[in-house]
């Protein structure tokens, strides 16, 4: 396992990530993603992260080495569209059993690879490590190497067992596997000065295809998309691109950065969501290509396309913008979407009452602030209960989120629209933004919400409505907590103090309070002492609040 540990450490040392570089050596070793909290409802594991990052490579056989749990739950559950091969949708697993656990599963894995190659003859087999074989010591790297030699075909180990960390880490470990085993192993038939890579785009609901015609029109060739609608060899020769765009925030920053390092491919981080972002991305692509030797007239053509497409999109959004003006949106998503969608919604005249930043990086958060101003309501780890409360108190008109959060909205009687991977509409590009606005309009105007919020008509006037019921249940819970506090004040106080103020730096309420009591009576002083509010800065107001709350106490002490 030492090599896996090294890889993880390497990923944690990502120099392309400003947040990581801002940490001390010791902090960095702890990892770049927030430690999971035992007892809390958690997001996906590293295996899941690796699987979703690579599964969109459509002609590869994705073989999961583990018990049925891993492939059984992840088999084809993302809407990454393919223009051809369907092999990526076939669920391959070694489905290991007790005998494998006792005697080891390596032979089983080897045989499974052999059967895949005999029956399907894919251009490559990706083998995913999972917790159980990792713990019993199955060396999938060795098995893959032996199989690759024996069958004369790439067999790529994806070493990202679930226990090493969360989904985001899995994305990066998947990227590492591509860097180590795939990228640079083939050569394209020809190259052009207009070849680009798109990294971190998964072609969900065919979003890549919505962008591609514009790039085609400009004569820009997507040499490789990692990994939406990709073919194995396309990824293998991606090192010959002239420039790269990194789409999904930091999920695959290691791939983009290392390809720059190894092959001199410059990259930028951009988004296809939102009209302004889309235009910026096209400009940036053109700029990087021109820097690498493409004809400078490309920029003129790009600007012409941008002007035309923006005008067309605005024209089509205009009728909706009137209806949506002033509508309030609560955004529960992660990473790149937390800011890229903000821009898009603002374009349609909507107001963002809050956005979650759980999976977002510091840059993501800064972009949100740029867009929404310093007052941006950013929420880190929103518990379902908190979301529920927000839906009520923020008086949002609609919540946009992934499928897992939908039920919070639905039970609260809140219009909800899916913007994560299980969505059925493509929202990328100019056309996609029109589509998103149309969907929001359609969702908000759905008569169902009226029905959902109405109590049974036989309930008396003034009886509990959906909002008061939601609040009542929250209050009841608060009372219970208060009762618990009375029962065990010490524990309750410890819990209260442990609550984080600053999510970026992991500073607890207790630490801030101690600093204030110790004499740090300004936000700056508290920050200097504890590190609170030196990340995204969003918690500054909370620090101020604590100072204000404690000042009478301090004055009394004086």
């Amino acid at each position: 396992m030492s090599s896996l540990n090294q890889t993880i450490q390497d990923v944690f040392n990502e120099p392309g990530c400003g947040k990581n570089q801002g940490k001390s050596e010791k902090e960095r070793k702890k990892g770049c993603t927030k430690q999971l909290q035992p007892g809390g409802a958690a997001g996906g594991c590293a295996f899941d992260g690796a699987k979703i990052a690579l599964q969109p490579i459509t002609d590869v056989a994705h073989l999961v080495h583990g018990p049925i749990a891993c492939e059984g739950n992840s088999w084809d559950n993302r809407g990454a569209a393919s223009s051809g091969p369907q092999l990526y949708r076939t669920g391959f697993t070694t489905d290991i059993n007790e005998t494998d656990i006792v005697f080891g599963g390596e032979k089983h894995l080897f045989k499974a690879i052999r059967e895949i190659i005999a029956k399907y003859d894919p251009p490559a087999v990706f083998v995913y490590q999972t917790c159980v074989p990792a713990m019993i010591g199955d060396d999938i790297n060795a098995v893959c190497k032996a199989a690759a030699e024996k069958f004369g075909k790439p067999v790529v180990p994806i070493n990202s067992p679930g226990f090493v960390g969360p989904k985001n880490l899995g994305n990066k470990l998947a990227g590492e596997a591509l860097l180590e085993h795939v990228i640079g192993t083939r050569e394209p038939e020809f190259t052009t000065p207009y070849d680009i890579n798109i990294i971190g785009e998964y072609n969900l609901a065919g979003e890549l295809w919505q962008i591609k015609p514009l790039l085609d029109e400009l004569g820009i060739r997507i040499l490789s998309c990692i990994s939406g609608d990709a073919r194995y060899e396309e990824v293998a020769w991606s090192h010959r691109a002239r420039a790269a765009m990194m789409v999904c925030s930091k999920a695959m920053i290691n791939v983009a950065r290392k390809m720059e390092e190894r092959y001199g491919i410059p990259f930028f981080e951009g988004s296809f969501y939102g009209i302004g972002d889309m235009s910026d991305s096209l400009r940036e692509i053109a700029r990087l290509l021109i820097e690498r030797g493409a004809d400078p007239e490309l920029m003129e053509r790009t600007e012409a396309v941008i002007t035309r497409e923006e005008a067309r999109a605005w024209e089509r959004i205009a009728p909706y913008a009137q209806r949506l003006a002033g509508k309030k949106v609560l955004l529960i998503t992660g990473g790149v979407k937390s800011w890229s969608v903000v821009a898009a919604l603002q374009e349609a005249g909507m107001e963002i009452v809050g956005t979650s930043v759980k999976k977002s990086t510091r840059e993501d958060k800064e972009k949100i602030k740029e867009l929404m101003g310093q007052d941006a309501h950013m929420f880190d780890d929103l518990t379902p209960r908190e979301m529920y409360r927000m839906l009520k108190t923020a008086e949002a008109d609609i919540m946009l989120s992934g499928g897992r959060s939908q039920f919070i909205a639905l039970k609260a009687g809140m219009p909800w629209l899916d913007i994560n991977q299980e969505r059925h509409y493509a929202y990328a590009g100019y056309h996609g933004m029109v589509e998103l606005v149309r969907e929001i309009d359609r969702t908000i105007s759905n008569r169902v919400w009226e029905q959902v919020r109405k109590p049974p008509p036989w309930e008396e006037e003034g009886a509990a409505n959906w909002q008061s019921r939601a609040m009542a249940s929250l209050e009841a819970e608060a009372e219970e907590l208060a009762a618990a506090r009375l029962a065990d004040p010490a524990l309750a106080e410890a819990n209260r103090r442990a609550q984080a103020v600053c999510m970026c730096k992991g500073v607890s309420t207790g630490a801030v309070e101690d600093a204030v009591i110790g004499g740090a009576d300004t936000r700056g002083a508290v920050s200097a002492q504890t590190g609170a509010s030196t990340g995204c800065g969003a918690c500054g107001v909370l620090v101020d609040q604590i100072i204000e709350d404690l000042s009478p106490l301090l004055q009394a002490a004086e």
Partner: protein
Amino acid sequence: MPQDANNVIDHFELFRGPEYQEMLARKREQFENPVDPTELARVREWTKTEEYKELNFARDSLTVNPAKACQPLGAVFVAVGFESTIPFVHGSQGCVAYYRSHFSRHFKEPTSCVSSSMTEDAAVFGGLNNMVDGLANTLSMYKPKMIAVSTTCMAEVIGDDLNAFIKTAKEKGSVPDDFDVPFAHTPAFVGSHITGYDNAMKGILEHFWDGKAKTVDALVRVPNGKINFLGGFDGYTVGNLREVKRIFELMKVEYTILGDTSDVWDTPTDGQFRMYDGGTTLEDAANAVHAAATISMQEYCTEKTLPMIAAHGQETVALNHPIGVEGTDRFIMEVARLAGVEIPEALAMERGRLVDAIADSNSHIHGKKFAIYGDPDLCFGLASFLLELGAEPVHVLATNGSKGWAKKMQALFDSSPFGANCKAYPGKDLWHMRSLLFTSPVDFLIGNTYGKYLERDTGTPLIRIGFPIFDRHHKHRYPVWGYQGGLNVLVTILDRIFEHMDATTNVPAKTDYSYDIIR
């Protein structure tokens, strides 16, 4: 010949064989006066145009593919809901064979029904002898407790007087004097099966309440707190009535279901043949006069019955086949009001579950366009449910719908922003619907089995809700009323939407990029 005794193949495959295909082609050429295929295609395309639609809607004599059945069918439906009652249809026996097959094709169950088997002699000299012999034979052969008489057109055209005939038959000793023989005139050339339901129900209630054709004193109403329930003609009667009973029990309402067919069309296979399983006892039918109120689930099935009941001093409420949240709310609240009971928490929970299911799936139905046809009340119930779901019931057609019904539909459309482009078509048939589906297409069609031709011709996916449903089994065992029934209707609609989605995204490497496992 390709049929081989060792490997017998069914008609699906057999007639696709070359021998049969050649035979059929020869027949077409030699005997069918074939037209030029391009001319055929031209006309077929022409039938899809606005021009053709206008000509089609200008039709004033010919009905093509009517979406209604005849009065006696409704009368038979009513009769079998009463205790040990046999429907006796005075007229031609062929008609009766139709009702029986019609019901058994829909319910996959037998329906007991006899006929006076009038022939040409009877048509000339009147059907009295057939009535006299028929009643006597029916009693001696089938031992019913009651014989409910209705008529076919044949008896109506010659003007047979049921009241007098039954009286004469009793005088001649066909059946004992005090034997219950209620009757209703049910000519098919007036109204439809829903009219027949109305007439037959009214006939039976009047028989018991108003002195059994002047043979005994009329009952004197002594009001109690009970509620009478009329389901109307209903293809989902088994599931619906059981659901309604469950709701009544939950609400602790004392009730009488008039024409209780809940056990008639799904009798158990346990070694016993149940010729009769109607659930309304004759005693209950008589005592129903004392009830506080009568609630009808289908206004247009009870247009004469309800005023008759009201004239006896009861409050009456007519609903329109309530489906969904708002419709069921109204039903439940009316029952609670009429019976003076509280609505139990259990029903509020069921309501919440239906609302939850609607919210979970809202995006798939919202904004979709539907065409609906069927009986007027069912059309109303479905249309209001679709409006509730944010769908547009663009074309709503009832061959047996009246102008008053169309007005009521229009008022429903006007009550919702989703009704802006919707229109009701009273008295139109399925060939009119065909034109509508071509000139202003919709996403889905809701109707009975006959809609499958429209589905084939126009490509509009059919959602089977209505009567008759011959080509899908057992739908009648599941309710469409109550909150649970609303859930069934929701799921029926959703299933078809998802099936359609899958069917249009399953071409490998062409459309299957959207052939997703999560919908």
